[in-house]
Assembly symmetry: C2
Homo-oligomer: 206 residues x 2
Amino acid sequence: MQTEPVKKSSRPAAGTRERLLEAAMKVFARDGLHKATTRGIAEEAGVNEVTLFRHFQNKDGLLAAVISQAVQSHAGDGLDDARWNGDLKKSLHHFAKTLYANLVRDEAFIRTMVGEAHRHPDYAQKVILDAVQPMRARFIGNLEAARKNGQVRRGLDLGVAADTFTAMLFGGMLRHTGGCAEDYTAEKYVATCVEIFASGLAPVRP
Amino acid sequence: MQTEPVKKSSRPAAGTRERLLEAAMKVFARDGLHKATTRGIAEEAGVNEVTLFRHFQNKDGLLAAVISQAVQSHAGDGLDDARWNGDLKKSLHHFAKTLYANLVRDEAFIRTMVGEAHRHPDYAQKVILDAVQPMRARFIGNLEAARKNGQVRRGLDLGVAADTFTAMLFGGMLRHTGGCAEDYTAEKYVATCVEIFASGLAPVRP
DNA sequence: GAACAATGCAAGTGACCGCTTACATCTGAT
DNA sequence: ATCAGATGTAAGCGGTCACTTGCATTGTTC
């Protein structure tokens, strides 16, 4: 289907595994874990199907490798602590825009994971532990710092609060990218999340 | 596997279609749209596979019927306007608890729909239009009423705000029911959503 | 240029899937 | 008693899938 005029006759042992991983990520996300076929993945990678089985014992091994790689590549991007100095609302907005963009970028893969989570609890847990927990911890830390600055009221569990915020963005991404045509832009949605969350955290004025 | 000592020798033409729909809902949710097999669904329903094809032309027709029925059965439950009279926070809490319980009840089906949405945009859209839009409209209406009571500040698009709230609950459900073991209860999560959202909507005190 | 490892290629295996056909059986209404 | 319609049973068809085997080819390294 896709004509890749390059290579094909070169056998440099170069990046075959990487090309397979990339293709698998794409096909798994596009077709779902079960509908995706090893033939399709190999074709997408421009590689013989047998080579796929030589690199990864079976389809499941390939999936595990894909998840491992995807998680590593995404961990750590996003929020840089340096931006969390000044105004809480501005920092939140920057964080929200970055996170939302990442969510949109990985939409297909995320949807597949959400749909398949209760059929592969081990993989789902790995994704969550390795990819979202570090970000969550840093986010909570920044909220705590903001509380010390007096920008956040007391009496709130900041761990739970942080999860409500990311859930807002996560759910909004699913809604927007889904067929559900909204009457507002993603930017407005993100801004509203920040507005409501920041006001919700703010200390009550006496 | 499942021993159903009743019936099996009775052929009362009774509820065969309904049993098939129920079984299909269950198997689709459990195994995913593609992994689910017509044989498995028929077996789950205690019905011959051929009967399945006599009632629904093909697997896709069965899926469409399942979605139709599921959407109808869920539309309209949840929030009763009568409860939206007094305190906004209390009303929100009642709404949130009801919605969250419904989300948890249909977790498997919801996950399947989320994962399959971009492969069946037509079905996804039908689900959204028929099931979530009516609830959304009523929720927005109630928020507008609360604003007239002076419980909600101006300058917020209540449609967007409503979506951020349901997204919080939606994302929280996915997180909790996923393998991700949290250190807080679902009740605390829901209460925190309400707390932050209500404070976020409240008018700023001068 | 020889040895070696990676890859391609062709073919196949057993299993399962969606779906169909042909025929027997049972039930309920007339 | 009969007849129609719904269901069951058995068998199969064409297709796809995950995965394997055997062998040829190619590039790299020494």
